[in-house]
Amino acid sequence: MIQVNNLTKVYKLSKKQMAEQKTKKNMKKAVDNVDIKAVPGEIYGLLGPNGAGKTTTLRCIATLLKPTEGDISVCGLDTVTQSEGVRNKIAFLTNEIKLDPQFSPTYMFRFFGRLHGLTEAQINERMKVLFEQFGITDFKDKKIDELSTGMKQKAAIAVSLVHDPEVVIFDEPTNGLDIVTARTVTDYLKELRAQGKVVIVSTHIMTEAEKLCDRIGIIINGQKVMEGTLSQILTETQGEDLEDAFFRLYEKYNTEEVR
């Protein structure tokens, strides 16, 4: 289970960043008092525009960033004081995380398997299952540099799952993928849910969130402005679909004062 309590993350801006963001404040609140609870056997979707704080929230859960305020526990482990333990329980994937281009999917799979303390036999077993699942076997020994975007993403997902984690955190996992590869990824996320894993995904694609997520949290300007099942959100916002609901919330909360 993932439990995020009153998460606030403040970045200190450099002068260059202040100039780029046209602000005189040297602090930026990327995430503001956010609570999230994701349970096993559930896909939790995090929705929001660019710069809303989705990636920062996911990075905090994945122990890459420390909360300025609040606390996060993953499978009962604190992300600050027990970060190594947390990292052993999670798979974390964002667009910014890439596999070394000069190695093959096989090498990277073994490398991360070893970092997770798996035996060669365990690595081989997981490799067989995941490479078949994602159709990687045909290009498993090619350099990642030589693979297409879809192939790279499939390899990255497979590698991130080498240790059979209890929690899966994917930041826009289908971003830039063709429809076939995107379907492979979403199908696998559903499979993980069926296996009782905790899955958190962030996405821009409203239709994908509608079909995939059991519950959805909408973040605008660092604040969670709504959370619930698709039907709860539609009822609450009077929206026709998720996109419509999102824009109603966006118009309401994307004000100058909040920014």
Binding site: R59, R87, L99
Partner: protein, 406 residues
């Protein structure tokens, strides 16, 4: 330990799995050095041959009687033109300046009469030479005539005047100079090496970390591959140590390639030339070899640590490169300083200064003068500084601001 081994293994695989990298890091420098030194040797040899084969164009004014025969008797090869005292020298001097003539020798008028009629208190006649030091042919001609021919001619005239030249010699100093030398052979033979080797070692050991460290750290940050490692359940310190170990091994290998290339290539530069007084060989005891090895290893550790620290803080490989270059210059300066300091007395604490202390210690290893205190201080100093740098790198790896610009 699993994390360290795995990370180090990946770094080594990254280099040894890339043929282009192997070529550019280990093969190309060796080939380039060999080709470069061979070309320099060939060019220098060709130049020396050319000077030797050149027949100098020499003008002699007021040549004394018998000078021509004396010149021929010494088999000095030249195209000599004899001038009268009334001949103008301006054109000849202009030709020497432009390189068309090589040497002008001017004897005073009535030279032989003045020499033969010498008595106490009389003015000693001067034979004047004109040459162009900027021209190799001219310099060589002047050297041959002034050092060989005119000196011999002077001795000949002196013998005519006094009869037995030995009567002018009261005593001689060191007829056989080789029997006069009392020296430690190891120290003497290592003198040239002790001047050159510390500089070469401190400089060459840096080339590995400089080319590999930036890509292994900043390159990984830029490519986004570092973040994937940071979400693995391994301590950041293990990632740092793993990378440092791999980079150190690769740097040692790179330095060995450079060193072997130099050893093979440098003799080609001096091919066919006599290099007097250059004792370029030395034999080391096992203790000296162990000392040298430990100093080099500590130096590599320091280089890798400092390059890694720079690379961690840099946002791009280009930025890292601009920070590493001045450090390289400092390293070269430290090496050069020891090159010209000789084996003069150096205070013990100075051996603790990274690079400078190591270079001084290497110098003394080669000449067999390194004391245990100097050795210990140089190792301890550099290892302490490198350990502090490693701790700073680990701290930087744990910093959100540094690793994620957050």
């Amino acid at each position: 330990m699993n994390g360290i081994r795995t990370v180090a293994g990946k770094e080594l695989a990254r280099v040894f799995g890339d043929k282009k990298l192997i070529f550019s890091l280990f093969i190309m420098p060796a080939v380039l050095m060999f080709v470069l030194y061979s070309l320099i040797g060939k060019a220098m040899g060709g130049m020396m041959d050319d000077i030797e084969k050149h027949v100098p164009s020499v003008y002699v004014q007021n040549a004394p009687e018998g000078f021509d025969e004396f010149t021929k008797s010494l088999e000095v090869d030249s195209e000599t033109t004899y001038l009268k005292s009334t001949d103008s020298l301006d054109d000849i001097k202009a030709n020497i300046k432009s390189g068309d003539a090589d040497l002008l020798i001017v004897f005073p008028e009535n030279f032989l009469e003045t020499v033969n009629g010498y008595s106490n208190g009389m003015e000693i006649p001067e034979v004047k030479t004109y040459y162009n030091p900027a021209e190799d042919y001219s310099s060589e001609a002047r050297s041959t005539y002034a050092n060989t021919l005119l000196t011999a001619y002077q001795q000949s005239l002196l013998a005519d005047r006094v009869g037995d030249l030995n009567s002018l010699t009261v005593f001689q100093v060191d007829l056989d100079e080789s029997t006069s030398i009392i020296t430690d052979e190891g120290k003497a033979s290592g003198k040239m090496l002790s001047m050159m080797l510390p500089y070469l070692i401190v400089m060459l050991l840096f080339t590995g970390p400089m080319s590999l460290g930036v890509d292994a750290i900043t390159g990984e940050k830029e490519r986004g591959t570092m973040a994937s490692m940071l979400v693995a359940p391994v301590k950041r310190s293990q990632i740092v140590v793993g990378k440092i170990i791999a980079l150190s091994l690769l740097s040692c290998l790179s330095a060995i390639v450079y060193a072997v290339s130099i050893i093979i290539s440098v003799p080609r530069m001096f091919n066919g030339m006599e290099v007097d007084g250059l004792a370029t060989s030395a034999s080391f005891s096992i203790l000296q070899m162990v000392q040298l090895l430990l100093i080099m290893l500590s130096l590599v550790y320091f280089y890798v640590a400092i390059v890694t620290l720079i690379a961690v803080f840099a946002k791009t490989a280009k930025e890292a490169g601009t920070y590493v270059s001045p450090v390289y210059i400092v390293v070269i300066v430290a090496g050069v300083l020891t090159m010209f300091s000789g084996n003069s007395e150096m205070q013990l604490p100075l051996f603790a200064i990274p690079v400078y202390g190591s270079a001084a210690a290497i110098q003394r290893v080669i000449t067999g003068e390194l004391t245990a205190a100097q050795f210990g201080t140089s190792i301890l100093g550099i290892v302490v500084v490198s350990t502090i740098l490693t701790a700073l790198i680990t701290k930087a790896f744990n910093s959100e601001k540094v690793m994620f610009n957050a």
